[in-house]
């Protein structure tokens, strides 16, 4: 099976900070992947490169064998086709929700792709039903809770029925109930033909949402493998700054444990 994305020797830096340093990986079609890494490891940058929002300064990224370069995206037909097939859900929903109402938000992508209006109305309705946000149709984004915003963000991408779903920290800053709703949805979505690539530092999610992981640190791929073996490798996890060891109070006095803690923090 040919990979849906092939990343070869890609480097990308910004303002003299090296975000990605000569990374190579490939993503097979129909599988679910996790990019594991702490903040600053380059996983978000990689997602954006996969979504052709940035272009590599060296190396190549191919989508179904076709290299993604800036000039290619000047062709409307190619650009629209790519945008329909690949969807990215940003970490910060305020970035993704830029329309005045929920309906407008979900309808934005189909409108850009110039679908006929009756078709848009139908598909938007379906996407909103799927994400259980139909009752929020006319709500402005600032009147939505964190979980609702996330569901709208997902709906706005899923309305196109993409082949590839890229997710940047999908569960960050969500309350536990919303988190589990999102996870349930992601587990259920797709049926072997959809590829999901999730960037996260939350180790608790990984086993549920991924068949294969890449561990990243400081712009490089540290390790790759199936979730069980990667997560079980404590030294690796500590090296990638995904777990820490801290003292723990037991009845008989202190003991040091290493915990798979994630450190969500707001910028």
């Amino acid at each position: 099976m040919s990979p849906v994305f092939e990343v070869r020797d890609v480097s990308w830096s910004y303002d003299s900070v090296i975000a990605l340093d000569n990374v190579s990986l490939s993503f097979e079609r129909g599988k679910r992947f996790a990019l594991l890494g702490a903040n600053g490891s380059g996983k978000s940058t990689l997602l954006r490169l996969l979504d052709a929002l940035y272009f590599p300064q060296s190396g190549t990224i191919s989508f179904h064998g076709e290299p993604l370069v800036r000039e290619r995206f000047e062709d409307d037909a190619f650009a629209f086709d790519f945008r329909r097939r690949v969807g990215l859900v940003f970490q910060n929903p305020d970035v993704q929700l830029f329309n005045p109402t929920v309906f407008d938000e979900v309808a934005f992508a189909p409108l850009q792709l110039r679908w006929p209006k009756p078709e848009i109305a139908r598909r938007v309705g379906e996407a909103m039903e799927l994400m259980e946000i139909a009752h929020l149709r006319n709500r402005p984004p600032h009147r939505l809770s964190g979980g609702e915003k996330k569901r709208v963000a997902l709906a706005s991408v899923l309305v196109l029925d993409p082949e590839v779903l890229l997710l940047d920290e999908p569960a960050a800053a969500l309350d536990p109930r919303s988190q589990s709703q999102i996870i349930d949805l992601l587990i259920g979505w797709g049926d072997g033909s959809k590829t999901v690539i999730t960037a996260t530092h939350d180790l608790g999610l990984v086993e549920d949402i991924a068949d294969y992981c890449f561990v990243m640190r400081q712009g490089q791929v540290l390790a790759r493998g199936e979730p069980a073996e990667v997560l079980g490798n404590h030294a690796l996890m500590a090296d990638a700054n995904l777990v820490h060891a801290h003292r723990h109070r037991h009845k008989e006095g202190g003991l040091t444990h290493s915990h798979p803690h994630s450190h969500p923090h707001r910028h």
Partner: protein, 280 residues
């Protein structure tokens, strides 16, 4: 003048942090109240937004053009009637519109009573009140109040995204409608940022700051917001591109005028023509 600078904010005791916070909070509360009112079921709420935009704007123009105080008065009464039937309580209108306008325009208009040349009505030593002075003050205040009431009615009975979309019907360029919609959307994001920033500074500020430090604090806050805003706009740009945006803007609306809306349109036209005729 305007809701964001209600006299209430000016009367808030305390330093510039607290007063800025008061302004931000009052704007946010006004927006929330307007959204709630627009979603409730009153007479105007049920009218097609395009009819409202056209009708209320037309009445505002007639108020502005009128040469007769009675015509302006009649339009004010019409505005009151619309407010009462649309669940807009007069006390709220007084707080949001009538008092701030009176405070501002009243202060501007008051000296005109003495300074305008014309037939004297009352004289006391050096100060003389003229008939023309009284009339001109009356024009200024009544026009400001009526126009402000009509424009508040539009916003209090129509969800703001629909007001914007209606503008398309009147040949407003799509790019402007989209920019206005996105600006309105991000006002609340930046408002949150500003509120967080000022709340945390308020709690951390112990004692009285020196003048220069206060200025630095205020301008640095503006600077931080500026940087954050520009960074946000870059991210939004990426998000838009990710969903297929290539420079063309589109807006989708599904307003459909019913018989009732045509009646309202007729009503606006009738009132407008009558007032225009009286005040010509």
């Amino acid at each position: 003048m305007g809701v964001a600078k209600l006299p209430k904010a000016a009367r808030v005791k305390g330093n510039f942090i607290e007063r800025t916070l008061a302004s931000l909070v009052s704007a946010s509360e006004y927006a929330a109240s307007a959204e709630a009112l627009a979603a409730s079921g009153g007479a105007l709420q049920r009218v097609d937004p395009r009819v409202k935009v056209f009708g209320l704007f037309a009445l505002i123009v007639i108020v502005a053009a009128s040469h007769g105080l009675s015509a302006i008065g009649a339009l004010f009464v019409a505005a009151l009637a619309m407010a009462l039937t649309s669940r807009v309580r007069l006390r709220r209108l007084a707080g949001w519109v009538w008092l701030p306008v009176l405070f501002f325009t009243g202060t501007v208009a008051a000296p005109a009573i003495f300074l305008t040349p014309g037939a004297p009505v009352f004289s006391s030593g050096i100060l003389t009140i003229t008939q023309q002075g009284l009339r001109s003050a009356a024009f200024l205040i009544s026009r400001a109040e009526t126009a402000a009431t009509l424009s508040a009615l539009l916003v209090l009975t129509t969800p703001w995204p629909w007001v914007l979309k209606s503008l398309r019907t009147f040949r407003c360029p799509v790019v402007l409608v989209v920019i206005l919609g996105m600006t309105y959307r991000y006002i609340f994001v930046i408002l949150e940022s500003a509120l967080d920033m000022f709340e945390s500074r308020k709690s951390r500020t112990v004692g009285v700051l020196e003048q220069a430090d206060r200025r630095r604090l205020a301008t640095a806050s503006a600077g931080v917001l500026l940087s954050k805003s520009l960074q946000l706009s870059g991210e939004v740009h990426l998000a838009m591109q990710s969903r297929g945006f290539r420079g063309e803007v589109h807006v989708m609306q599904d307003f459909s005028a019913k018989a009732r809306d045509w009646c309202w349109l007729g009503g606006f036209a009738a009132v407008g023509v009558a007032a225009g005729w009286i005040g010509r």
